[in-house]
């Protein structure tokens, strides 16, 4: 009891705004009116603003809470402390900071999780107790972690045309720059380096274009980086293409120029087309690819309502040469008809071009397949697809059957699967993000609907590092970050000035890239702090 008493005493002395007292003290006055003025929809993102907590009077009901954390440097005593029910995230954060003895600059903003119900504290405790049907008599177990601060725009670059998609999943070292690839409505793929931190050079300097490939005859609709250095892309020209890329150091002269502050890049990207996958009858809207051994396994879907699975050999020189001949034959055949353009466009990669037919065609959707994702990027056995026919299907790729069909009632425009929590996130035309349990086979129920966007959702992406962090992009020109343990968005990024179409996390989950109809590629640094 000594420790508890001491800690509590300390809190009482130090925290002037919060009426934190010991249990005995709290028993004296219980008749106070519970003021419920925290019902507003305020997201409480302004962490320093805890003025409203100050107004909570002496008559507040209190609850005993136990603080735990997985961050050893922020650990405080685990004995329970009585805090007012009116406390919100900021107030709780303040309490922990006082317990830690951190003053002004040292202060850390924490996020609190109600462990029993796996819910993030986004409003005052009383609201959460009421909605979660918890008793205020029992000790509330709160786990805290440093809060995710508002992502900081670290780089941006203007493109000549609308950007439809972006991917930055290429694994890079911690200190290295990201390599992102964007797909544009003019049919080009652009590789660029994105600095992890915006230096003094400013935002525009953060993005360096490595190379640009005129990949498709029509708009590019999807692009994926997979494996070490492979890229696949699809577009409205109905073709899925696989590219092999390699970073090349430029000549030392250019390096010097770079040192002098010139804008020319020091590195460039060699991009070679490995294969063109032809099998779709109409434009391809969605694509996801993984590398398994020496093969790229890709799923694609489009307006022909079918999902095509492709298996493309990546690889060794023999294959390439064989493919080369094959590709030339194909090319000759194409020459005969009126399809010269494709040949011309693909000329750059023609040396390694081979044409691939789909390994399997999964049909079942009755409208455009607009979103696709592999269930697990390590073992491509299950593919999730979302369609304009308003259903979400899981396909067993090996058996070529549809295993799960989740019937929604709104057009699906985006899909992402989180294998850690077995949760599918779907973006819909009705401005909502819905979460589904991917293990449920029978009657599917939406686990959670995230409503905050004001236009079609165009993309959803799970953070690779934090299992509960979800990013969503919308045509309402915003990107929102969600902790799916709460239906209130964590942050709203409003830097785009037109529809946002593409969204991608980097492999480490520290950077978020977005691309949109304002032809801008933007990179945000999302702060993380690892637990130990």
């Amino acid at each position: 009891m000594d420790v508890d008493e001491g800690a509590a005493q300390e809190v009482e002395d130090d925290v002037e705004d919060d009426d934190v007292e010991e249990e005995e003290a709290s028993e004296e006055e219980q008749g106070g009116a519970e003021e419920d003025e925290d019902e507003d929809d305020e997201d409480d993102e302004d962490d320093d603003d805890d003025d409203d907590d100050e107004e909570e009077g002496e008559g507040d009901e209190q609850i005993r809470v136990k603080f735990t954390t997985r961050f050893s440097k922020y650990r405080v005593t685990e004995t329970s402390i009585a805090v007012p029910l009116s406390l919100r995230r900021a107030g709780l954060s303040e309490v922990v900071n006082h317990l830690l003895g951190r003053e002004d600059e040292d202060r850390v903003v924490f996020d609190f999780l109600i462990v029993e119900k796996d819910t993030l504290v986004r409003r005052n405790l009383e609201y959460h107790l009421r909605t979660l049907k918890l008793s205020s008599e029992e000790v509330l177990h709160l786990e805290y972690a440093p809060a995710l601060l508002e992502p900081e725009l670290s780089a941006e670059e203007k493109w000549p045309d609308w950007l439809s998609c972006v991917d930055a999943r290429r694994p890079t070292a911690e200190n290295e720059d990201l390599v992102a690839v964007t797909g544009s409505y003019d049919g080009s793929l652009t590789f660029c380096e994105v600095a992890r931190s915006s230096g003094a050079a400013g935002l525009a300097k953060g993005v360096t274009v490595l190379s640009k490939v005129q990949a498709h005859r029509a708009a590019v609709k999807g692009v994926t980086q997979f494996g070490e250095n492979y890229v696949s892309s699809c577009g409205k020209d109905g073709v899925v293409k696989v590219w092999s890329t390699s970073l090349a150091e430029a000549a030392p002269v250019t390096r010097k120029a770079a040192a002098n502050g010139s804008s020319s890049s020091t590195r460039s990207m060699n991009c070679t087309q490995i294969a063109g996958c032809e099998g779709h009858e109409r434009s391809v809207e969605a694509l996801d690819a993984v590398q398994i051994g020496n093969f790229a396994v890709m799923g694609s879907g489009g307006w022909d309502q079918s999902v095509c699975i492709w298996k493309v050999a990546l690889g060794n020189e023999d294959d390439v040469t064989a493919a080369k001949e094959e590709g030339e034959d194909e090319g000759d055949a194409a020459n005969g008809s009126d399809r010269k353009k494709r040949k011309v466009k693909g000329a750059k990669a023609a040396s390694a071009l081979k044409t691939v037919k789909p390994a399997s065609v999964l049909s079942g959707h009755t409208d455009s397949v607009s979103a696709l994702t592999w269930a697990d990027r390590g073992s491509p056995s299950t593919l999730f697809s979302g369609s304009w026919d308003r259903s979400i299907r899981a396909w067993d790729v090996v058996r070529e059957v549809c295993t799960i069909k989740l019937n929604g009632n709104k057009v699906v425009t985006a899909i992402a699967h989180n294998p850690t929590t077995a949760t599918i996130a779907t973006g819909h035309a009705d401005e909502q993000v819905r979460l589904w349990d991917s293990r449920v086979t029978g009657e599917a129920i939406v686990k959670l609907s995230l409503k905050s966007h004001e236009a079609w959702i165009t993309s959803v992406q799970w953070s690779p590092s934090r299992p509960h962090l979800l990013a969503s992009a919308s045509q309402d020109q915003t990107i929102k970050l969600w902790d799916v343990r709460s239906s209130v968005p964590l942050h709203t990024l409003k830097s785009h000035t037109n529809k946002v179409f593409g969204l991608s996390w980097d492999a480490s989950g520290t950077m978020l890239m977005s691309a949109g109809a304002d032809s801008m590629l933007r990179a945000y640094r999302v702060g993380t702090e690892k637990s130990d």
Binding site: G235, K236, G238, R282, S368, A429, W456, Q475
Partner: protein, 809 residues
């Protein structure tokens, strides 16, 4: 008459003696009376006989018998004298007269009940209240009820008395009743009573000399009567007066000086009347049938005068100038009150009533013309008559929110068309650029500048003003109509610019498989190679005269074909754009601007409407693949064909002229029907996917719903738009219907059509989409179409906006 007088005198004396309880006297009196009465009644009878002429009915005798019995019952203890008289064989008359004395007996009985104690009943000696010593010298002391002598018993002597005083425990309370010659033993209670009487108290213990007053006659209604007298006999005896009266009347009838009122003939009729034996005897109806006069209508109730009618009404009753003005302006029948309240300081200032003469006159007219009639006023809440519509939220999905806006057009967007899969959207308008959009992103994927096809001179545009009348303005050129080929394999959009029809290959916008590309190319250029000379053949247009030679039957099939081909060449000059190989266009010979173009569902026929003076050249059907054109509807007499519509399944084409919709069978080449819209100028048509319901929108704001199976007149005509309708459309998959109007709104309806005929289709308004502004020249939404697969709607407006509405919620 003297006997009557005696009776009258005798009655009171008899009564008084009876009251005194002197039965003896009473008896004698009665005897007398009976005798007297007997005589008098016989007298009376005689008199009556004179009147009735011996018609003393059997009833009367019966009555008498009854009376007789009653009397016997009532008088169980009747006086012996009366009995004796009866025994001597007195007639019934005498017994009847006994009713009289019974009356007194009745009274006496009441008294006996009220006063007589139980002791008196046991009294055996009936000598009455006479001194006993009168009987001292006799050995009896009186007479019992039967009149026998009561013989005196041997009394006890002194010894006996003494012995009794010793032996009998009740001796002291025993005394001797000399009158009845018996000894009486007093009971304990009687002793107590005697003792109390000696003490001067009330004999009954607990007797309350001053009981609480019970207000019997309080006016409160009691269940049981307080007084309980016998029902008097007179209530049961027929009234003599009435009998007299009746006899008099009967006498009068017989004598002939009293006439009956009814007609003797009606009696016979009544005999012949047939009665409904088992029918309900509905009295009310019977009465109604008999009644011949018109129904009585009561005069209307006059409302009592109120303050307004005062010569000096309170201020609040005086009308404000506006009210007074409104009253003056209103029609006399519409006024709530037929006068205006006026204020006069004094009564004498009130002038003569100006309307007096007129009102009197009107009153007279009213009376004379009898205008009073019953007006049935139905007290029905108008709300209850409106059918209950389901909530719009129950009829989801329907488009309700702007989802995507397609930016790029300048000026009015006049027409739009959706790709059959729903991926792409084509639009065209005043800026002469045909644009192909990606639906989901709002990206313009392809644009074709068609300004080179615009006519050199200004073009006439017919437009409809607000009042439904046509108005013609001019404009340089614009894309007036866009139509997407309904077959997925043909990536072709047809557009109308001025007099030109332009086909644009749009396969570049989105990927087309090789088959599709081939099909499209065939449609666009395949046949043109054969008819290659068409490219340079400029004299087609000069050769305006279209030979409509009716070939004779002897012409061979091949010749026919050749002739048809030549005809069609003359009609239409197909050309390929030299710069852009993806475009072909043509201009019809001898034609005006293209008003409408539609694709047939097969995707190879394109039907166009041109504004031409020659009525038979208005509608042309082009077989695009063969480059053949024909005018199957040569016999269209209607001059101003506006729009065309193909039936979804049957070979039927709907041709809308200004006022009528003609239904033609293309195979049989004949007109099946003519639908009359009843409006001035048709603007648009849409057919329900089931093919039996046609909706026509008109420039005079009406929407007419035709059930093609039933009638050539509209099943319903609706008018809800504020300005001219521009477009109507049915959704292919969802039960949705929409209409776009110049008022800038699109009304969305839930429209359900049933298979069976007994259910009417229903049309429930669910949403008004207000995405477009109304421009200054009075134009709003110019074109509108549903998304082919989703419950979404595209709309194009004169404000240059092109929008997609989606279903939210």
């Amino acid at each position: 008459m003297s006997s009557r007088a005696t009776r009258g005198a005798a009655l009171p004396s008899g009564m008084s003696e009876a009251l005194n309880g002197n039965a003896y006297e009473d008896e004698s009196n009665e005897d007398e009376e009976v005798v007297v009465e007997g005589e008098s009644s016989s007298d009376e009878d005689e008199e009556e006989d004179v009147i009735v002429e011996g018609a003393s009915s059997d009833d009367e005798e019966d009555e008498d018998d009854e009376d007789d019995e009653e009397a016997e019952e009532d008088r169980a203890a009747a006086q012996s004298a009366a009995k004796l008289k009866r025994a001597t064989g007195k007639t019934a008359e005498a017994s009847k007269d006994a009713a009289k004395p019974r009356k007194f007996r009745g009274d006496e009985d009441v008294r006996a009940e009220g006063y007589a104690s139980s002791d008196e009943e046991h009294e055996e000696n009936t000598i009455g209240n006479v001194p006993l010593h009168w009987y001292d010298e006799f050995d009896h002391i009186g007479y019992d009820k039967a009149g026998r002598k009561l013989v005196r018993k041997e009394g006890m002597d002194e010894v006996d008395k003494f012995l009794a005083s010793k032996d009998d425990p009740f001796y002291r309370r025993t005394f001797y009743d000399a009158k009845n010659d018996q000894s009486i033993v007093l009971t304990d209670r009687e002793l107590i009573m005697a003792r109390r009487m000696l003490e001067g108290k009330f004999p009954e213990q607990g007797f309350n000399p001053e009981p609480d007053y019970v207000d019997f006659f309080s006016g409160e209604k009691n269940v049981f009567p307080i007084a309980d007298p016998y029902e008097p006999k007179r209530r049961f005896v027929p009234s003599k007066f009435e009998r007299q009266k009746i006899l008099k009347i009967m006498h009068g009838i017989r004598a002939g000086h009293v006439r009956r009122q009814g007609k003797p003939e009606s009696k016979k009729e009544a005999k012949n009347e047939v009665y409904l034996m088992w029918g309900e005897d509905d009295l009310a109806e019977d009465i109604k049938k008999r009644r011949k006069a018109p129904k009585h209508i009561p005069a209307p109730k006059v409302t009592p005068p109120d303050h307004r009618e005062s010569y000096h009404p309170p201020e609040e009753y005086l009308p404000t100038p506006e009210e007074a003005k409104a009253w003056e302006e209103a029609h006399p029948d519409d006024r709530k009150i037929n006068y205006l309240p006026q204020d006069f300081a004094q009564l004498r200032r009130v002038p003569a009533y100006a309307n007096y003469v007129r009102e009197r006159y009107e009153r007279c007219i009213d009376l004379y013309l009898a205008p009073r009639k019953e007006v049935r006023r139905l007290n029905i809440d108008p709300e209850s008559l409106v059918p209950k519509l389901p909530k719009p939220s129950e009829l989801r999905p329907f488009p309700n929110t702007v989802a995507v806006t397609y930016f790029g057009h300048h000026g009015r967007v006049r027409s739009l068309a959706v790709d059959p899969s729903g991926e792409l959207l084509a639009s065209g308008g005043d800026d002469m650029i045909l644009r192909i959009w990606e639906v989901e992103s709002g990206r313009c994927l392809l644009s074709h500048d068609l300004s080179q096809y615009a006519p050199e001179e200004n073009e006439e545009i017919s437009r409809v003003t607000e009042d439904g009348e046509g108005e013609v303005s001019t404009k340089k050129g614009f894309i007036s109509r866009v139509a997407w080929n309904p077959q997925m394999q043909y990536r072709v959009v047809a557009a109308a610019v001025g007099e030109n029809v332009i086909l644009v290959d749009v396969s570049a916008a989105s990927f087309a498989s090789e088959e599709d590309v081939e099909a499209t190319e065939q449609l666009m250029g395949g046949a043109l190679a054969e008819a290659g000379e068409g490219d340079d053949d400029d004299d087609n247009e000069e050769n305006a005269e279209v030979a409509e030679v009716d070939l004779g039957a002897e012409a061979s099939e091949e010749e026919r074909m050749q002739q048809a081909l030549r005809d069609s060449r003359r009609m239409v000059g197909w050309k390929k754009d030299k710069a852009d190989r993806t475009v072909i266009f043509w201009k019809e010979a001898d034609s005006g601007p293209v008003l409408d173009l539609i694709w047939h569902a097969k995707g190879v026929y394109l039907a166009t409407v041109t504004a031409t003076k020659r009525s038979n050249a208005q509608v042309t059907v082009h077989h695009v693949l063969k480059r053949m054109s024909q005018r199957p509807l040569r016999f269209v007499k209607d001059q101003r064909v506006q729009r065309l519509l193909f039936h979804p399944r049957k070979p039927i084409i709907f041709v809308a002229s200004k006022r009528y919709v003609h239904v033609y069978h293309l195979g049989q080449q004949k007109r099946l029907k003519q639908l009359k819209t009843g409006s001035q100028w048709i603007s648009s048509m849409a057919i329900h996917p089931d093919g039996n319901n046609l909706v026509v929108g008109t420039y005079d704001r009406r929407v007419s719903w035709f059930d093609l199976d039933i009638s050539s007149k509209p099943w319903r005509t609706l008018k809800y738009h504020k300005r001219a309708l521009r477009e109507v459309d049915f959704h292919d998959r969802y039960p949705l219907f929409a209409s776009a109007s110049d008022d800038g709104t699109v009304h969305v309806f839930h429209a359900r059509v049933f298979e069976d005929f007994d259910k009417d289709p229903y049309l429930i308004p669910v949403k008004v989409l207000r995405g477009h502004a109304q421009t200054l020249d009075g134009l709003g939404v110019l074109s509108m179409a549903f998304h082919p697969t989703q419950p979404w709607l595209f709309s194009a407006g004169a404000d240059g906006r092109l929008q997609l509405f989606q279903n939210l919620g």
